[in-house]
Symmetry: C2
């Protein structure tokens, strides 16, 4: 009986178990089991993956990338440029470490070159026609790099050709105020003006000069502005230090606008309509040529006329005079002219962007774009190849993870290796023109890393206020180069900080108000939330405008590895930081973009503008109340949205609710676009971050309109202030509306 | 044994069953059960709900809505207008049948009115100053409606005040070609021109006249154009038929642009910047006044000069002469002048939109907008209250379902009762300016039903090609008024059809290329997929430009219920049709917008433009290949997307995949916007549907630029053709890119 009971119980247990198993696995629940995608769509960023990524980022890989990229000069559209195109494609199409896809996109763009068979020159010519001095036509060689026949002669891209000759004058930085002051002392008609870099855009030095009758312009880098005053002792400058040798010359584009100059607002394809070259605006109307400071020294120290003001004086051991016009009586150059022989020519050439993508798994139609230009002036070890070598290391590590099936981002990542940036951000601008609608609709953020490492002291970051938080988060997780126990963040805050009403003392970020690199079209034309990140100087140790080899033949692997970032640890820190940011933007469930930080910046701008303008505007019967109300609306909507994000259990919500919030965050900057806000500024549409000439930390269009009205006193100009106030208030209210409850 | 076996088997079965039950219900599957939202997000439109909706739509409710709305004249910003605001709010805030929320939005807009104390008049004045004839100042009364003191005197809104006097001439429709021809016969300086409605915009009749020295303009409706020639017999016109009585006058806005005229591109709020009235463009530079045809008859039949061409002749039983200038020798008016006394004044007044919403359940951040203006010129029973009474019936039925918890749309529905449309689509334009970013980002479609019923013969629909399919689908499900066994669709196809390469014979839809109603800002300024729907005439039975009471004091409940839609069954059919469309747009899982139909329209446009322009463009070295390639790209991307939609099991896909496709469909029209494409056209940005003066069924900017170049022959004008071709090709390629695979 016991046996029977035992068997019976055993049988019963077996049958019961079978039943349980059948019931559990064999019969579908009436509510069907969750679809497989339910977990995917709720997945958040994987912190472990970020750590793994950071640990894989290798400084030696970056160093070898840089070595390869800087073997030869790779100015846009040259054979060297094509070599880098092939290199990028090979890396991004690598079966083990490449991206999902990579390809090139070509544009036919308008470029300007010196004639190698007929080099530009600058001479001092006596009244009888004797050449008394010839400025050096190319930089002195210190390493084999400078001997490469592909080193382009220093020149001013988009300077017209011509042979102007005239008495020399010194015009400081070539600002409007400089020429105005100079013109009070010297008759500028028919003169050649020598100017130093800084204070005004490159081309502006010629544009500002022409109305005074100046016929040609020289530009050089004063040792005061680049070498902390050092200049002549051979041991002081490269190859013995990072300072600019006396023959070094900064090349550059002398056009003011960005994008291909013949196809404004249109992608420069074969059959695209092109304006006539004579209708291009923003380029020098008169010839201009850059020279080294060894020649500038010879010219400036011989100038006659009265002494220029103290702010005009540079590092040369002589008084900088205005010029008689021309050289002083005691000079061997007395009565001599300076003559420019400029043989620049323009040509429409084929320039390539190299594009690569990693397809997003859950939201492939959301893009995080990461870009850097590929073209340099000469070898470009720092500008841009520091950035390119970092980008290639990011794509190697991420590509490997993708190829091994270990990772695929939630959102798509697009990498852009832009062409012809040095001629005016052309590749990135054409790309945004061609894909305007698609990019506007889908881009979460643009990360620009051009020069990744200016110097090895501290992080530098600029961007829309909404990206501050994710940059901080990443910077806290990366060790500062050479300082294992200090984070990039803790190091940064020591170099540059500010007090935020919300966050207390934090690192100080910049804004992207200009067009200094490829972020310009993304920020200003498309209104895409962007950031620009690099490692940079200890400003207590140098006043150099920029690293001294900038745009010279000395910007080489040798220079970078010896004087900028020995061991490439700052490159590595940047790669880790921006990679961390990139992964967060691509993978985080709720986009790591913060709209209350945006409100803080708008409030700062408002305070400044009220302090500066309100009194006078009231007297003109122009109310600032709509602007104040708009900023208040924005703050209140941003605070509300932030609260929704913090208090909702979003991972358990429908993915469409998260998507809704993410769209609000993604599209925030788009709401600030107004294509009619800046009729005089090419491609500037973002009413908060447009460039401004007023030099105030506030709303750019308001500051410029106010400065203009205040100077002219015309009631039509005060009307323009009122008009812009309405444009601005409406844009901010409009942006606030996009952050409010959707209905 | 058998018993034992039986018991054992029974026990085993019980135990097994218990096990199955435990296993099924007692143990959670290792993958947790699906979140509650999984079914919600995959829910498609409910056909049963649509049927229920349609059966609830009641013609008597519509009739009573109309009766209430037309009790008094409700011209924008008058007391009558305010009464309709209150009525709308009451209905939309009704606890049983209202919407989730309803409110008013006010704008301070620039309007133009006649002076009630000093009515405008038109007289014939003899050389000695005797008044020989006074044109009727107000329309004749046939019902009590015309006696309402709030009936505004017929006038031309935005005509300047003034007292011009001169010899009369007849200028046909006041087109540029009309004045040009007339000027060959008559010296127009100092004359008053009488013109008939049609052929040119209202204000254009004065704008085109001024350059010839014409000092004032009259405009009337010729019986040929409105009454099928009938005019004088009392039994032929209202109140005995739908035809216009001899004293009837069409009022209207004489401004060319849409939106508040003082605040271009800015929402007209209290402190918004306003341009100076003298800087307004597109309004008559000289006084203009509309009169009835009974007065026009007296003036025209007395005119001297030669006989006007046959196309200029109207229905009057006399020859229409050019004018001597002035009256013929045999006339009692010989040597007399016509004098206009215009006392119009302009005023900034507060105009309201009434807004109402039903919150979306799954995608609240996607909007279907349904709108109609509320303001009329007089009682406006047809224009606009036929539309408003239909809208109120829709909101009653839908609101009741929402309040009873029986239905909530997937997407949000926004209802707009626009103010001041008659003065230039002002309320809707200000709304789009104020909420530009939000509406651009989130609006799936805009449905405009202004005049719901012009007449009771057939459906009429215009819109972007992508809405054709959903309109057809709805039209097939509604019975044509009075024809239970024929659908609106089958009835429609008999009146207007075309052959589509894809669909065969289908009803012919129109395009929204102008600014005839409140869709204008949505289509042209925001690039939102839109449609405009109504019931209209049997064109074989009348040539009337529009229903004859249009903008007169006869557009009353009496007129509508007797002559337009007795029984309100056409109103009911429209309500069912547009409600069906509205529900589909709001509820369908994959948006019912078809991009291959868009491709078909682009191909039609391309064929026309190649036929018309290619030969001459080739001779000018301008290639149409980029345009052809763009249209091919668009077709291929559209076909591909359509295939993805048809072949994917989208209901079982992640909701983010459906959202991705829906975003592609929703944003398609946005991709065609270019704020720089039409520098001379206010607020026109959509490169496919902008207005055009060339009168060709093809790309508007290309047609206009070609016509201009072809007439001037200037190479700079041919450049503009090439430029616009590039703008257009880039926009179409850009749109194609948004339809392609996202990455």
């Amino acid at each position: 009986m016991i046996k029977q009971v035992l068997i019976g119980t055993l049988c019963g247990a077996v049958v019961l178990t079978a039943g349980i198993l059948i019931g559990h696995y064999g019969i579908k629940k009436s509510s069907s089991s969750p679809p497989s995608w339910v977990n995917d769509v709720a997945k958040d960023v994987d912190e472990g993956f970020i750590e793994m990524f950071m640990s894989e980022v290798d400084n030696i890989q970056i160093q070898e990338n840089l070595r390869e990229l800087t073997k030869v000069p790779h100015m846009a559209t040259t054979a060297g440029d094509e070599q880098t195109v092939q290199f990028m494609l090979k890396r991004w199409q690598d079966p083990q470490t490449g991206l999902d896809q990579a390809w090139r996109e070509e544009y036919k763009v308008y470029l300007s070159f010196p004639d190698p068979k007929n080099p530009n020159n600058v001479t001092v010519v006596s009244p009888t026609g004797n050449v008394l001095h010839i400025a050096r036509e190319k930089e002195k060689s210190y390493t084999s790099d400078q001997n490469d026949p592909e080193v382009v002669q220093p020149y001013a891209a988009y300077s017209p050709a011509g042979h102007p000759k005239g008495r020399l004058v010194y015009a400081n930085q070539g600002k409007p105020s400089d020429y105005q002051l100079l013109n009070q002392t010297v008759d500028l008609r028919g003169t050649i003006a020598i100017t130093r870099y800084g204070g005004a855009g490159r081309g502006d030095k010629a544009i500002n000069a022409a109305p005074y009758g100046v016929v040609g312009v020289l530009v050089y880098t004063d040792p005061l502005d680049i070498n902390d005053g050092l200049m002549s002792d051979i041991n002081e400058t490269y190859p013995h230090s990072w300072y600019m040798p006396p023959s070094g010359v900064e090349r550059g584009s002398f056009g003011a606008d960005f994008g291909d100059l013949l196809t404004p607002y249109l992608a420069a394809k074969e059959e695209t309509y092109r304006i006539r070259a004579e209708d291009i605006t923003g380029i020098p109307p008169i010839p201009i040529q850059p020279i080294g400071f060894e020649d500038a020294y010879i010219l400036i120290c011989e100038l006659g006329g009265g002494a220029a003001p103290s702010e005009w004086q540079g590092a040369f051991n002589c008084t900088y005079n205005f010029g008689g016009p021309g050289f002083k009586q005691t000079s061997a150059f007395h009565n001599s002219d300076v003559k420019l022989n400029i043989h620049n020519y323009e040509e429409v050439k084929s320039s390539s962007n190299v594009m690569g993508v990693i397809r997003g798994s859950v939201e492939p139609d959301r893009y995080v774009i990461y870009g850097n230009h590929r073209d340099s002036w000469v070898h470009g070890a720092i500008d841009p190849s520091s950035g390119t070598s970092v980008m290639l290391e990011l794509t190697r590590v991420l590509g490997k993870m993708v190829k091994q099936g270990k990772w695929r981002p939630r959102r798509s990542i697009i990498f852009g290796s832009w062409g012809a940036e040095e001629f005016g951000l052309i590749g990135s601008a054409e790309y945004t023109e061609q894909y305007l609608a698609k990019l506007s609709e889908r881009t979460v953020a643009y990360i620009n890393v051009d020069i990744a490492v200016f110097a090895n002291a501290t992080l530098r970051a600029s961007g829309m206020p909404s990206v501050q938080n994710v940059i901080f988060k990443a910077a806290k997780q990366v060790s500062a180069p050479g300082l294992d126990s200090t984070s990039v963040y803790d190091n940064w805050i020591q170099y540059s900080n500010r007090t935020s009403p919300t966050h207390g003392t934090i690192p100080k970020m910049g804004y992207l108000t200009g067009a200094g690199s490829d972020y310009a079209a993304f920020v200003h034309y498309l209104g895409i939330t962007s950031m620009d990140i690099s490692y940079t100087y200890d400003r207590s140790k140098t006043n150099a405008r920029i690293y001294p080899a900038y745009h010279t033949a000395y910007d080489t692997f040798d220079y970078s590895s010896k004087f900028i970032d020995p061991g490439f640890v700052s490159h590595q820190a940047i790669a880790r930081t921006v990679g961390n940011i990139l992964i967060r933007l691509a993978d985080t469930l709720v986009l790591p973009l913060n709209c209350t930080d945006y409100a803080e910046s708008l409030e700062d701008y408002l305070t400044v503008s009220v302090n500066l303008y309100q009194e006078k505007l009231q007297a003109k019967n122009i109310s600032m109340e709509p602007l104040k109300r708009a900023v208040t609306s924005f703050r209140s909507a941003a605070t509300h949205l932030d609260k929704v994000i913090l208090t909702s259990d979003l991972a358990n919500e429908t993915p469409l609710k998260i998507r809704m919030i993410n769209d609000q965050l993604m599209l925030l900057d788009r709401a600030f676009l107004d294509p009619l806000a800046f009729p005089d500024k090419y491609a500037y549409r973002h009413v908060i971050w447009a460039s401004s000439s007023a030099g105030k930390s506030t709303f750019p269009g308001l500051a410029d309109a106010y400065a203009n009205a205040n100077s002219s006193g015309l009631s039509s100009d005060w009307d323009k202030v009122h008009y812009h106030l309405s444009v601005l208030s409406q844009a901010i209210e409009g942006a606030a509306n996009t952050l409010s409850d959707v209905i």
